[in-house]
């Protein structure tokens, strides 16, 4: 029987698995799952290579301006043309991976660690600590993450480091809720009681006995979370907030291109496709993780 609890927003996995009710033959599901995983990981590999080997792969310096060549159409010299300052768009997209992908991954991994730790603590300790931190989580989730990000950036000032910290503050809650929920069900089980009776200290129980049993969930959500972080960073870049020019960043590239939509539409479309494809890769990976989890 379902019940409505006081404003408890249970985090929903981005892509709920389709296990159980879709009773397809076992082999077919497994094949489809590994195909998804391979395609997803393949896409992610391309992005990682772009970020790591940017100086080798990119044909031009992303910041080098060639004003006479400004707004050139795609050609063999500039595969995706040049922007309004004559900078090579392809090179800027490749270098953009170093900004968007790296910042998003740093923020999501940071949020994952903070959230997991708080989830473990509140779930295991219970009592006033749990009540207080649950109320804090409610408050953070009540403010739309976009406005909360703006408020935090106002306090922290511009720059990539502020952006990552602000994203951690807005993203940790989902992890904490996920982990807290699982810890609550595990807490009363015999192996935890046994660990406690054996006189183990709390940090050891949390990290060695609880974490291995609940950590997988947090890591599964990580793939979906990176998508949210990338779109958040790109959205802020688009609005001229966060990562400052002239750094190559996908969101600000889309914004720059918007003045030339009728003549050079690819200036906006190409960086957007790059974001969407990254999202697709991460969604495929998180999807196949979720399907695996449902079958366990």
């Amino acid at each position: 029987m379902t019940s409505v609890t006081d404003g408890e927003l249970q985090p929903q996995p981005l892509a709920a698995g389709d296990g159980g009710i879709d009773a397809a033959p076992d082999g077919a599901i497994r094949r489809r799952r590994s195909a998804k995983l391979i395609v997803g990981l393949g896409i992610l590999c391309v992005y990682v290579i772009m970020a790591v080997l940017a100086p080798v792969v990119a044909p031009y310096n992303p910041l080098a301006q060639q004003i006479p060549d400004a707004l050139a159409h795609p050609s063999l010299h500039h595969l995706l043309g040049t922007d309004q300052l004559g900078r090579d768009v392809l090179s800027r997209i490749i270098y953009g991976a170093r900004v968007d992908l790296v910042a998003a991954t740093a923020a999501s991994v940071g949020a994952c660690m903070v959230g997991t730790l708080i989830g473990l603590l509140t779930g295991y300790a219970g009592g006033w600590l749990d009540v207080a931190l649950t109320r804090v989580m409610d408050m953070v989730q009540t403010i739309p993450s976009f406005t909360l990000l703006l408020v935090l950036l106002l306090v922290l000032g511009p720059g990539a480091r502020s952006l990552v910290i602000a994203l951690i503050v807005t993203h940790w809650v989902v992890y904490a809720r996920l982990i807290r929920g699982s810890v609550l069900t595990l807490r009363s089980q015999d192996f935890i009681s046994a660990a406690w009776l054996a006189g183990l200290r709390v940090p050891r129980i949390l990290l060695r006995h609880l974490l291995p049993n609940v950590g997988r969930q947090a890591v599964t959500y990580l793939a979906s979370d990176i998508i949210l972080a990338v779109t958040a960073i790109a959205s802020l870049g688009y609005l001229g907030i966060g990562i400052q020019p002239p750094t190559a960043e996908w969101g600000s590239m889309i914004n720059d291109g918007q003045d030339f939509l009728s003549s050079n539409w690819w200036l906006s479309v190409a960086p957007g496709v790059v974001v969407v494809l990254l999202g697709l890769g991460l969604a495929l990976v998180s999807d196949s993780f979720n399907e695996r989890k449902d079958r366990l």
């Binding site: 709920a16 009540t142 408020v151």
Partner: protein, 313 residues
């Protein structure tokens, strides 16, 4: 009676959460690296001018006194005075908020219009090509930032085909519906991706239940089966998902407004952010939080009305 007590309890919770949010905002705004005087005058201000402005704003008083007058103002609906517009924040919000609300409601309606048929078709044609096609939409949709989707829609429908205005808000009901269509659709593309998936799953679960077997045995088929028997039971779980999505919807709407140059609170908060208009930024943040809390309360109450099996706690 139980419902009334439940609503009362939830309202109390709404008030407490809002108080917490306002306290958080107050503290954050006082953690700013510069004082309001420095922010308003920028590099050009002399120390005397900075002190004068801080004094005029009451920023030089003890923090407890400032908090008390801030809270006193809030209780009277006074959100402070915008530095940028030199007018009360509540007046500015009265103009901008309706635009944002219209867009949010429009997007919600479009979500329903798009989600129900897609999910029904996918569920009724389970594991057929059309099901796979519909289920692939979320994978692509999820990575689409609203500002980019909005730009693409602008290029296609406003610049190339000139079917819709390329930005701004036309007056009148018809003008509103026309100029808000593309922004609302932008929002729907992401939201319906998630909603379709959830609704499809619950339709599949309902289809396996005994009462559907009974209905089928009585000879109920086709549209009557779907509309009369399946959907009323299947939409309830998705409704609870809607309350989770609503916060995301408001966030997305705020960004979408900037793409389409709509004069709502989203465009306003970005403008306010860029000139460090602290009262306006925190006022808008507080109002959006209130909006989300009230909306979630309404959805939860609706949930219990639609599904009497739900137990109120």
């Amino acid at each position: 009676m139980a419902r009334l007590r439940y609503v009362g309890k939830r309202l109390l919770y709404v008030v407490l959460t809002l108080w917490g949010v306002s306290l958080l905002l107050f503290l954050l705004m006082h953690a700013l690296p510069s004082s309001p005087g420095q922010l308003m005058l920028g590099e050009g201000g002399t120390p005397d001018q900075v002190v004068a402005i801080n004094h005029a704003l009451g920023y030089d008083r003890p923090i407890v006194a400032q908090y008390l007058s801030y809270m006193g103002g809030l209780l009277h609906g006074d959100l402070g005075t915008s530095y940028l517009f030199q007018r009360p924040v509540s007046d500015e919000l009265r103009i901008a908020l309706p635009v944002t609300l219209k867009l949010a409601v429009y997007a919600l309606v479009l979500d329903v219009v798009v989600t129900i048929p897609l999910a029904t078709i996918a569920a009724m044609r389970k594991n057929k090509p059309v099901d796979h096609a519909i289920r692939a939409i979320p994978l692509v949709g999820i990575g689409m930032p609203p500002f980019w989707t909005g730009t693409i829609l602008l290029v296609i429908f406003a610049v190339a085909f000139k079917l819709f205005p390329a930005g701004g808000l036309e007056p009148g009901v018809g003008g509103n519906l026309r100029s808000l269509f593309l922004p609302a659709l932008t929002q729907t593309i992401v939201a319906s991706a998630i909603l379709t998936r959830s609704l499809r799953q619950s339709i599949l679960e309902v289809l396996q239940s005994d009462y559907i077997l009974t209905a089928r045995a009585k000879g109920v088929r086709g549209l009557r089966l779907v509309v009369g028997h399946v959907l009323p039971n299947a939409v309830v779980p998705t409704l609870s998902l809607l309350s989770v999505l609503f916060a995301g919807l408001i966030g997305g709407v705020l960004i979408t407004e900037s793409v389409f140059a709509l004069p709502g609170i989203g465009s306003m908060v970005v403008q306010a952010f860029q000139v460090y208009d602290i009262p306006l930024v925190s006022g808008i943040t507080l109002v959006t939080a209130a909006l989300i809390l009230v909306m979630n309360l309404l959805l939860d109450v609706m949930y219990t009305v639609l599904d009497p099996r739900v137990v109120l706690k």
